[in-house]
Symmetry: D2
């Protein structure tokens, strides 16, 4: 029988990912801060529940983790009873969270010091793709480990990339989200200008979708923006944080990013009032003032 | 037998449009400054060649025009022997050029004063769509005329929109091109940041194409930019002009466009050196300096 | 006895300028749209009142004009009975308005065609300096005429510059006002950041005034901004117009102006609500949002 | 006889400050990493030389420090033999460096934990004001200590401000330098636009100096920029770092700073090539491209 796979973190993303792992032939040992999520996985799929994140790592050769913030990650990984204390020679950890390159390097150092293997694997894609198994994995770190867990990546996603040393996965995520955030500010400015011009905005969305800029995001968000619907898929405050990361990465490397920096300031302007709404709410400060 | 349709201006765009008109059942009377283009149409399709643009209008109820710049438009339309002098009650002119809203209104005034009907119909799409009959027509002006020439729009394009009074077609085009130009600056900044981060750029392009931002422009231009290929489809200086129009339209209407204005300044920075190359050459000033 | 000097336009600026001319030894022939201003000058200083602006030019070798907008200028200068029809060989016109370089060149062409001499002389300085005779004249055009009217410039101002052909005076004004407008947005952002940081803003103003950035504008406007006092000296909508002129001039010449363009967008954002208040009201949109 | 005053760090700034303290009646115990500076102070003024920074604090009730970077500060203050280990109940430390608010709070915490008193006192002003005793002290922390060392501040500077808890001095410095850096980019853009317009740049500088924007920085730097002289007073890379701090502070507090962010991107663009030159070198990337 196959080795069980560990899975730490059954939140919005992690739950979908774990389900795809198990339905595609893996047996899982799981842990989540809120035990009801683990129990659901046990009841439905017969997963084993560990007493702690550390125990997951101790019981499995290969463990995936999906913790949403630096704070959650630190709370679970670090400290005397932290999960990373479960690392011993040969243990493998694949961290799918989107943190900073610096944070990922720090985790790697601890894992390596204990004889383990580490791979960062932040994902592109949100709740829907997690459930449907169509995530994209942006990996950095141990390339041999990347090869070993390909079957698991394929169970959870539609694509996976090995991008170099730890940090490169997170940097790729930052670049991709910078472009995404910038595109949303352009859609917002375009709708604002179209609205002030008294153009039919539904037609504007349709025209964009017929041409070289046609993309799923405009197609999905455009009509919602027109209706003032900023139901959250990706919170504006998270988008702003990613724009800040991008501007800072450019600072470190000496790359001037005037358009993205302007977009960042628009998100900053919007954040206090609209931070918890969808990032499409940047439209609310783009539209004709007064 | 059906009324012949007039067509003025057989340039890169106009030639493809005229061919589609004729192959889909219209008989044409054509005029072009360079007569060799007209002769090609006569030889290949049996089109009648008029002695002047004015004569086209005099001989046809409905005339389409496709002149690429304000200067070309003025040279052909205005003056004592200008084409607009051929307008008499009931004559219809459909101007497919991308000029300014103000210029279109000015042409309309002359046409109306002579008893004619006018429609602006700037197109979204370049040489390829013109040849393939997949243009998008963005129309403003006489709505009844819009209805009458639907068959011709359908012969030349895959979509057509009636957007309101004259000026609204041009404004829609400005908004669409503002978003397009902004997206290209974001792609340029993303590639610059990725390059400075030593990320594999081909992977970046592929990752963008797998997600919510997937769009034909990134797919087409991304690999070319990586190869330093800025073979011109849409000249950078024209994109910069359209960004300027957008910023100015925002100024007229009181819409602040900080991201688009930053993009405009990037195109301005690139224009002197790269103005005649493709607008993707904005990457050359985005990439790591020094 | 000395030749009388013509003066057209006794508005906020013109009245102070005319008074300084007359109290420093010039005899004036004046005209103003609102005759009560002319009558005040006649009663107090014995100035002669002309029946029209054209008559001023006909009666004087040298005429100064100070009309505040392009619209006012066109209304007085152009047309069959316009003032410029009073120009005949040897007549000299010095236009002190702040219009565009293009407009000044157009006026010059008419004056030259009638055998006259022309000097543009836009001023730096507002109501106070006009009254106190401390304006700065930024001149372009006929250099010999510049030399002839030096005594009059000295009666009205503390400095005068000959800058080259017509247009260069207006361009200098645009550059100066671009810097001024940009500085005000920086003061606004600094006060906004200081306020959100809970710094004592009066101290911030004082610290700025003790260092290398110490300048009369910050000294004057800083305390007013803190008190929410945007009593108008220079309307925000006029500052925004000058920023737009600067950005457009950069566009013509291929100069990228990212900081000034961002400042322009801030003024655009403020204009609908605060356009008639002082340009310091740009602070209202800079301060912490929400 | 008066208590001796401790002084740690005799660099470009510290040397001038120490001299002013001693020539105005204080006796000093000094330490500097490079002992030759300490020996110069001993020879010329009879200052006592300590064996370590820690010894300075042990021997004095009140110690000033002036260490130029976070790295230098950490190297001297922290660690088992670090200067902060010399703090015991009642000892007073006044840190005149320009670091971050967070760094100052961290130092304060260590000092307080050992029973000491702490004041941050970053200065506005560079080498010249340090030598001439005309610095401006921007203080945060223990207000009673601020009162006690007023005589020393007055020996070294022309003004001193108490601004609140530790961090507020550093924040004031950030705001002031943000405005300074922004003003330099405006001067650069103005000179670039003036140059492209073929305006006489010396006149532009003079006109700015005659009006409401007249300030020592433009007066000093303007002529140097025209001559391509960027001899360093304040390195461009330090100005860029301060702009970044300002943008980040705005991010923390939810203040959108579009103009300052654009200025930051201009400094980023200039940094790789001109980072060690004066911050006026931002002009080199503002001037007409190509």
């Amino acid at each position: 029988m196959a080795e069980p796979i560990g899975f730490i973190g059954l939140g919005i993303m992690g739950m979908g990912m774990a389900k795809n792992l198990v339905t595609k032939g893996n047996s899982l040992i799981v842990w989540n801060r809120d035990i009801s999520k683990s129990e659901a996985m046990a009841t439905e799929f017969g997963c084993e529940i560990a007493q702690s994140a550390k125990e997951v790592i101790e019981k499995c050769i290969i463990t995936f983790s999906m913790l949403s913030t630096i704070e959650a990650s630190d709370a679970v990984f670090l400290g005397e009873e932290g999960a990373l204390c479960g690392i011993s020679p040969g243990k493998c950890l694949i961290d799918c969270a989107t943190l900073t390159p610096e944070k990922m390097v720090q985790t790697e150092e601890i894992v390596l010091a204990r004889g383990g293997l580490f791979l960062e694997a932040p994902v592109s894609g949100s709740k829907g793709p997690a459930e449907q198994g169509t995530l994209i994995f942006l990996c950095g770190g141990n390339e041999e480990l990347f090869g070993r867990v390909k079957p698991q990546f394929e169970a959870m996603g539609k694509a996976n990339f090995y991008l170099g040393p730890v940090g490169q996965g997170s940097r790729m995520k930052i670049v991709v989200n910078m472009i995404m955030g910038g595109m949303m500010t352009l859609l917002a400015e375009g709708l604002a200008l179209g609205s002030a011009s008294e153009l039919p905005l539904a037609d504007l969305i349709q025209i964009l979708d017929l041409g070289a800029m046609s993309n799923p995001m405009f197609r999905l968000k455009g009509p919602k923006i027109i209706n003032g619907d900023h139901t959250v898929n990706f919170p504006l405050k998270h988008q702003q944080k990613d724009m800040r990361f991008a501007v800072e990465l450019g600072d470190q490397l000496g790359v001037s990013l005037p358009v993205s920096a302007a977009a960042n300031e628009s998100y900053k302007r919007a954040r206090l009032e609209y931070g918890d709404q969808d990032f499409s709410a940047v439209f609310e400060i783009a539209k004709k003032q007064k």
